[in-house]
Symmetry: C2
Subunit: 476 residues, 2 copies
């Protein structure tokens, strides 16, 4: 891949960075230029740089501004919408070498780190002080904290602990022209004009380059209680959710559902014969996690949950349920939920990450299944997700006999129907993955024309030359 | 007060609104044009309107745009920075008649209401469904929910439940040109571009007119345990705070401090001789509230708190402490904190609402007291506040012998020193009250020149004619 970048620009970059911090060709160039989402767009980076200091990031931005070179900020490359993909000879700026955990303050419960620290490294640094960073998702070992902020990452604990947005106390951001903003930081309260921090959270690298963050930490739960239940219907899922949340003293930290098809694919995917956790399966399975305030209450909470399930069985909300009696069993139950993505992978699923008002989850699923059955009768449709947040991951599986290109053509043809249903049910075309390149054609399904015009005006105010991650979020 | 508004504009307004919904003169005109903050700026409204529908709000905005008339949105007029004060013949748009609670959905735990509903009405509507709206502050009976969102109100439960920002799920906003935006709503997750909702929260009416909101609700605590303690020093306050938060199983929902002087003013202010709650006073008093998950744990939590206080006495962190044994006693202990503002009022205090990084609270207080003693040796300096959030309310009391004008001149002369100390300690010139007119000269103490330039660019994008609450937040 030949770079069309001006040689004066490339020479200036080389003078600012060590030789091992500039990648101009080879596999690394492509590796650092795309994320986990393989769409049908070109991956065409001009050059990749891996700065080792904030000052180097600033110098790179100044050079890019002077030479009108576009910048694609790159975190851990675990994104699912193509937001970190270079498509038109851009400079890819990887934050991978800015990965220091700078400090943990147990009194203020704040952690300060550079953007390239992984989410897992942040969790571990917090744990070393008896504290917890409660944002949690499968890619945490690779995902950078900076990328998780730029995409406002969700995950399996949103129900209890919220999205990444709620844990960002301060940000250091380099603007397109190289100016460094320190926004917020250690203050819990700071009502002094517009909260710019909130704009950068979820902006997918289009407003500035996040180089450091101050994160709030929490006290970890004293323990958890994990259960798995089989439910007869979609409807029963919300019924059980409501009972759990209304049950005095219970703190629900996860409420994840997956349908019978997801369960079957996990069974199929496991190499060894797994012990089935439930005597009977339902149309839906629900993984419940409760937080304990202290280990002393484990027995009482356990009894309360047993009683709740017994009543739910009597009321035909639940078919069967099991409560983990130890850590190993809890991990085993969680694995039935956590292994779904990997188990579906061989079927090259076409995925959608959508959000709905909670009371619309069941009506939507009914309509979506019917629409798939009508339009794509030979294609299996599976749903799982963070149903306590109204967040579903929809999957269409490629039948073994169907060529991949034809499969893609057919499911893409179905996308407008699916996103149309999302709109009709007051939902969002992206719950927790963002827009990137993948969903920019559907942004107008969730945001109004005036909202998009205001967003474009904000983009113009922050990045008047349009150098930061062009083509992402908005159609060009 | 003669209105300089064009007669065609006033005639058009009269044709849109009923006669009792337009105020053109008299005491009401001034009443609806200023908030609780009496600064040394003019109160000069042109006209006051009280629309009865969102459509009327939109029609008024369109008229104002057509005639280039500025709009001051007005909530419950409980603000403390002059943000709802008309200073140059503006139209004041009161949301008082848009006060319906539209719906409460106990499954989604969402409440939808118009902007003019009071915070207390929202709390009561939530309580009627066994739920809670946990933002809580003294002015809740008058403060509108719309105004509380426009100022991102804080209060006494921020430590546990966060600022208003965390409870706003959706907003309906009328822009200056009359367009109505529905932003967010029932979705927990919605990562589709910039979160415009966050910009309107805390924007003090400068970007749009909030006409309705969807609020998240919580399950109320099963009960609370309230204690009051006397501490020997500022330092001890943070020591006790850390111990409480680190104590397994305790959920601290309030941690409020007030110094000996505040306590003395409450004693002085009470007409009847009050029973002193503590055998000895300290340099600081701390009001602690713990949340119970169920009433069954009250005894155990009580014992745990007794043990913690006993150890703290032994370690000289606490001089004396008392735990409320019933509801009435809990209210009595809370009153020592809640009566402070009213008790200081006769001394016409000069107030400041500031925030600090928690570890800077004690160093700041030491410096501030010394600075007051040096510059204003005859003036009493008192501090109280939400110390768990790093939020202090500083008060300088007028000596009875000092004329009010002279007092004001002297304390205003001291303001730059005080706000300079706030800046030096990494603090914010406004924790929870906002900027309005009162603090706009000090905005640059907390926000950088570039941040302010970006905020002005956002203002320009949302309100290109500058008609929404001009002169607030930014210096003209």
């Amino acid at each position: 891949m030949g770079s069309d970048l001006p040689s004066a620009f490339v020479d200036a970059l080389r003078s600012q960075l060590g030789p091992e911090d500039v990648i101009e060709s080879g596999d690394d160039l492509r590796y650092y230029a795309s994320d986990r989402c393989k769409g049908d767009w070109p991956v065409a980076p001009g050059i990749v740089v891996l700065p080792r200091s904030v000052e180097q990031v600033r110098a790179i931005a100044r050079l890019c501004t002077a030479h009108r070179v576009a910048i694609v900020p790159s975190g851990g490359r675990t994104g699912l919408t193509g937001a970190a993909t270079a498509i038109a000879g851009e400079l890819v700026l990887s934050l991978a070498r800015l990965d220091r955990i700078e400090s943990v303050d147990p009194v203020s419960r704040l952690l300060h780190c550079q953007a390239g620290a992984t989410v897992q490294a942040v969790q571990e640094a917090a744990a070393a002080h008896g504290l917890s960073y409660p944002v949690d998702f499968a890619a945490k070992g690779s995902a950078h904290i900076g990328g998780s902020i730029a995409t406002n990452a969700g995950g399996v604990k949103v129900l209890r602990h919220g999205l990444t947005r709620e844990w960002v106390s301060g940000l250091d951001v380099v603007l397109a022209d190289g100016e460094l903003l320190h926004i917020g930081g250690e203050l819990v309260k700071n009502n002094t004009g517009y909260d710019l921090r909130q704009l950068f959270i979820g902006s997918e690298g289009t407003l500035g380059i996040i180089v450091a963050a101050t994160l709030s930490l929490d006290r970890p739960p004293a323990g958890t209680l994990v259960a798995l239940a089989a439910l007869p219907s979609d409807d029963a899922v919300l019924g059980l959710f409501e009972r759990l949340r209304a049950s005095a003293g219970l703190v629900v930290s996860a409420f994840e559902c997956f349908d019978r098809g997801c369960y079957a694919r996990v069974v199929e995917h496991r190499s060894r014969a797994a012990t089935q956790p439930l005597e009977q399966l339902g149309a839906q399975q629900v993984l419940v996690e409760l937080e304990l305030r202290d280990e002393g209450e484990r027995e009482a909470v356990h009894e309360q949950l047993v009683a709740l399930f017994e009543q739910a069985v009597e009321d035909e909300l639940v078919l069967d349920a099991t409560i983990a009696h130890n850590e190993a069993r809890a991990r085993e139950l969680w694995a039935w939920r956590e292994d779904i993505s990997e188990s579906l992978h061989p079927h090259t699923p076409h995925k959608a990450d959508i959000a709905l008002p909670i009371r619309q989850v069941v009506p939507f699923m009914t309509r979506w299944r019917a629409a798939v059955a009508a339009a794509l009768p030979d294609i299996e449709a599976l749903a799982f997700g963070h149903v306590g947040d109204g967040n579903l991951h929809l999957n269409l599986l490629r039948p073994a006999a169907l060529a991949h290109a034809e499969f893609l053509a057919r499911v893409h043809e179905f996308d407008p129907t699916m996103y149309g249903l999302v709109r009709e049910h007051g939902g969002s075309v992206s719950a927790e993955h963002g827009i990137g390149l993948l969903k920019r054609d559907y942004l107008g399904h969730t945001r109004s024309a005036r909202e998009i015009a205001l967003m474009r005006a904000i983009k113009q105010a922050f990045d008047p030359l349009g150098l930061l991650n062009p083509g992402k979020i908005f159609t060009p």
